[in-house]
Symmetry: C2
Subunit: 600 residues, 2 copies
């Protein structure tokens, strides 16, 4: 007998879906295009896919849901979409903190002036037509012309070019615009259509893309989306686990689909794009290319590929010019990827005699130290707390996320994304909150909340009340719990242990740093004074800190317009001495020590 | 309302198919894998898809079918599958002459000894496994090893290799067999699986493929199929016309499907094939690659591509190792293709001081003249008469085809393929029949049949009766008509005009030829004495003729195992001076003169 069909309506989007009785609610949402948060890969641990069943029947909650949601939320109809199964027609409320949409995307970044020297050059050609006295093939005719008239000898033409060349030449009176990469013709266009370049930064959470004029250099447009792979888990390790369970192709396809949509939005004629550069951490790099990641998830965590790569866009399914290449900057190690190399490139950390530390804070935080021309890097598992995950009232930097917290005369003041009514806390808000607690002496050195203004004791232990239910968007209190502070301590401990280790190996103290470069989305939003207050950043004069935005994207743009910069990236990857923290015998004690706050 | 579903059974194969009422019978046969002959692209002209409706109802015959089949055949239930539409359940008899199966395929050819120097070399590697002290990526580990231990520095690895490498190394204890092409790793296999090579000759009518051991050189297996594009027309121009009407992709897909089946039959593990070489005439080359052919079908008939090409097998849809390349030998001109170059290569015509003419007789006949180290080639439209087409009782060299004809004491003796009861005439049978008529003085110089033994006057004019209905497989007379003789005259005139022109330009006469090399399927089957009798070949001593079989396939095999031979092929293509017959003012009169027979 066939399973019963059920209809599900999601609010407030109004999206309707049909499914079989017994289907997982999260699956139904995903298929229907309802963007549901989630970072644990669908095992009921992260709690981010919490929805309210407004009408209809789902499967009874199991132990995991009961434990995660508690009797109170279950009584109000809250359930985890990743565990609840549809048993009949439903109406489902998706609360703001569980939605993926409207995320604030960090795509701006520094623009570094650079000498233009792109891998692909274009020429406008005008060929003599064939005749009975001149029977050269179209390809030979074009190759001869490029060599003679433009000093560009070519050895080959991409098959996609050969498939388009003959009709195109005849349609446009033997005139065409030809894109040449090294010794290969990679694209051919009508005479009036200039080629474009594309730079892509594939972050674990966000994907940013930039359209670049290859002839003159400026960024013409930029846009970003959430990484669609988030549906398989928020952090790198969850996605590696999914790929190890055979979902690698689905992960790749989701990313490429998302990228194709992003590209189509940036450029109405995507086949004008004749060259692309892509950066990402090693896992994103591998998942984008469809490379195996099992060895990234198991010690000793080695990449399948470290060198720079050129692959045909069509082999990835990217819908740009079919003969175009995608250049991938080199990876350094399993958890220090091409995005780190790009960040070093864009911020110039490789090109200084000063002593500089660079940080890209995320679920994994990469740290690089430049000292006397030597580069040392490490990667620490700082966890997703600064992305708002694993925080009880945490959320991403969506509209309504608390991003600023101040304690003024015992009163809490908060600022939210878009100034919207508060929904939850994003990473910079969490940092600010802990920073204020430190400044006010309301947390002890080991992290314990002390009694004081806005600190109260709730069922789950002490907590710092930020917004009361009366003032929040959903009518529930928003607070920072003792456990949340613990998550921040874990992140801080990991990052500082890595920084300290690099400094110590170079015989340096934090005070010796001439500059601290902070990249990435959270790194740009964070208030430096709060980071100093909790001890995440060293207490240096303000002018020594430089927040550089999406430096990985900026590095990708540099490599897009300059072969010299690509060579420089390969040199950076070679020069970086990777320090594997797992082999450091004292890393554990260092980590534990750095979890303490700088208060008495 | 949906169309009625009908069941169709084809005899004698017993193949069953389901289709919608109204479907064309030829389409139903094609989809069901019933090989039906046909050379006109399905417009009812060639009559080769004639079948008998044994039971059931089809659409009433239109004018074309009435004219083509006549009332008698229609009354017996004969119809043209390309015009008849299925109206209900059917049983369909496919007579032998309408079947594509069991064609005698010319795949043998000379084996030329050659120094092995393949484009792809293999190495068995054993790598040190990664450790916390050696965190190189799998790709870097392999590249380092190849450079250090095998003196094979590589710059890149194909994406398909990178997708397989990491799990493969771990499954086989860090041992693997690695195929390297130039500076790229193109395949990686378990240690015990050696790589193989594939040579393919794509003829207009037949496709031959050979599996070759790249390390030691011998051909391990060979097989052939009919070119599946025959369903779109028997000659090159019909297929170009189909492609110009938007069916280029379908033509390419049909060929690639056929090739994939052929390869799977030759090699149970097709992904062991790490390199392929493909040759064909320029149109087959273009259709195989999905290149545009419109410019091949219109004056001045220039190819899209002439130079040698390397394309990834996956870009063609060929199911061999996904990173393998297909090397295509260079074309010379629109109607002198890579198969001609391969034939020159295999027969050594480029490497002689003697005066040699080489012929590859087909629908287009290519002629090459070597004299004092110079190579001159031309192509003439000789038509498909020597393939048995455009001949009233003509057929391909299937079982039952008359391939030998002798007139002994006024009695006709015939020999058939497989010794089966006679069905029709294939090319060598037609040639023999005309040869016997010439020897017996039964045709006049201009081709008119004279009264004599076995020559009778039927409804359509005089004809040479070969087999009476009592002795034939189908109960109908088999005869050579006056019109058939005209077709042979057209073919002969075209070929001889081309030969004569090349000889004249070099100041030579036929008697000056040290050797005449005859390649191709018909060229191998033909009786030289008959060809001399009708004046197709010059009256030279027998030892000056050399029938070389599928020399194009042999040339492809040479290029497969030797980069020196590939370079030689490019040199041959450059050296060949192409003579365009269309620009020769006296070509028409030359052609007309050469149609005469050498009889008085």
């Amino acid at each position: 007998m066939d399973a019963k069909r059920c209809r599900v309506e999601f609010e407030p989007s109004g999206i309707r879906a049909e499914c079989a009785a017994g289907d997982l609610l999260a699956e139904v949402a995903r298929c229907a295009g309802v963007g549901l948060a989630g970072s644990c890969g669908g095992v009921g641990v992260c709690g981010q896919c919490r929805v309210r069943i407004a009408a209809g029947v789902v499967s009874p909650p199991g132990d995991t849901e009961c434990e995660r949601l508690g009797a109170g939320q279950l009584a109000q109809g809250y359930r985890l979409a990743c565990l609840a199964r549809v048993l009949g027609d439903l109406t489902v409320d998706v609360p703001p903190e569980s939605r993926l949409a409207a995320h604030r995307l960090q795509i701006e970044g520094i623009e570094v002036p650079v000498h233009l020297d792109p891998a692909v050059v274009e020429r406008l050609v005008e060929l003599p037509p064939p005749s009975l006295a001149d029977l050269r093939s179209d390809q030979a005719r074009l190759a001869d012309h490029l060599a003679r008239e433009h000093g560009l000898p070519v050895a080959a033409a991409d098959l996609a070019v050969l498939r388009e060349l003959s009709p195109l030449l005849r349609q446009h009176g033997w005139r065409a615009r030809v894109a040449v990469r090294g010794s290969e013709i990679v694209a051919v266009h009508p005479p009036d259509r200039t080629g474009l370049g594309l730079a892509v930064d594939v972050g674990t959470t966000k994907v940013a893309a930039y359209l670049v004029d290859l002839e003159s250099g400026p960024t013409l447009a930029g846009d970003g989306i959430m990484n669609p792979q988030i549906a398989w888990g928020e952090d790198v390790m969850s996605r590696i686990a999914c790929a190890m369970r055979g979902q690698g192709k689905a992960l790749q396809a989701a990313l490429i689909d998302g990228l194709n949509g992003l590209i189509a939005g940036l450029c109405p004629e995507p086949d004008r794009i004749v060259e692309a550069v892509m950066v990402g951490n090693t896992a994103m790099h591998h998942l984008a290319l469809g490379l195996p990641v099992r060895q990234l998830g198991l010690a000793p965590y080695v990449p399948a590929v470290s060198g720079a790569l050129d692959v045909k866009a069509r082999d990835l399914g990217l819908r740009i010019a079919p003969g175009a290449s995608v250049h991938l900057l080199p990876n350094v190690a399993g958890f220090v990827g091409a995005d780190h190399v790009a960040m070093v490139l864009a911020s110039g950390i490789d090109d200084t005699e000063r002593t500089v530390i660079g940080l890209d804070i995320g679920t994994n935080t990469e740290v690089v130290l430049a000292h006397r021309g030597r580069l040392t890097s490490c990667s620490t598992a700082s966890g997703p707390a600064f992305e708002g995950a694993h925080i009880r009232h945490g959320m991403r930097a969506l509209s309504g996320a608390i991003e600023r917290v101040r304690l003024v005369d015992g009163q809490v003041e908060v600022g939210t994304v878009d100034g919207a009514p508060p929904v939850g806390l994003c990473g910079s808000g969490v940092l600010d909150a802990v920073g204020e607690l430190c400044r006010a002496g309301l947390v002890a050195r080991r992290g314990r909340l002390r009694p004081g203004p806005a600190v109260r004791v709730a069922d789950g232990g002490p907590e710092f009340l930020l917004v009361s239910g009366a003032a929040s968007a959903h009518g529930r209190d928003i607070a920072l719990s003792q456990q949340d502070i613990g998550q921040i301590q874990l992140a801080k401990g990991a990052i500082l242990a890595g920084m300290e280790l690099l400094l110590e190996r170079a015989g340096l103290a934090a005070a010796d740093l001439d500059e601290v470069v902070i990249g990435g989305a959270f790194g740009t939003r964070l208030r430096v004074s709060s980071a100093v207050a909790i001890g995440l950043l060293p207490p240096l004069p303000e002018e020594r800190f430089r927040q550089v935005g999406n430096a990985a994207g900026a590095g990708a743009r540099l490599a897009l317009v300059s072969r010299v910069q690509r060579a420089r990236a390969e040199e950076v990857a070679r020069r970086i001495q990777y320090v594997e923290l797992l082999t450091q015998p004292d890393f554990g004690s260092r980590f534990a020590r750095q979890m303490y706050f700088p208060v008495c």
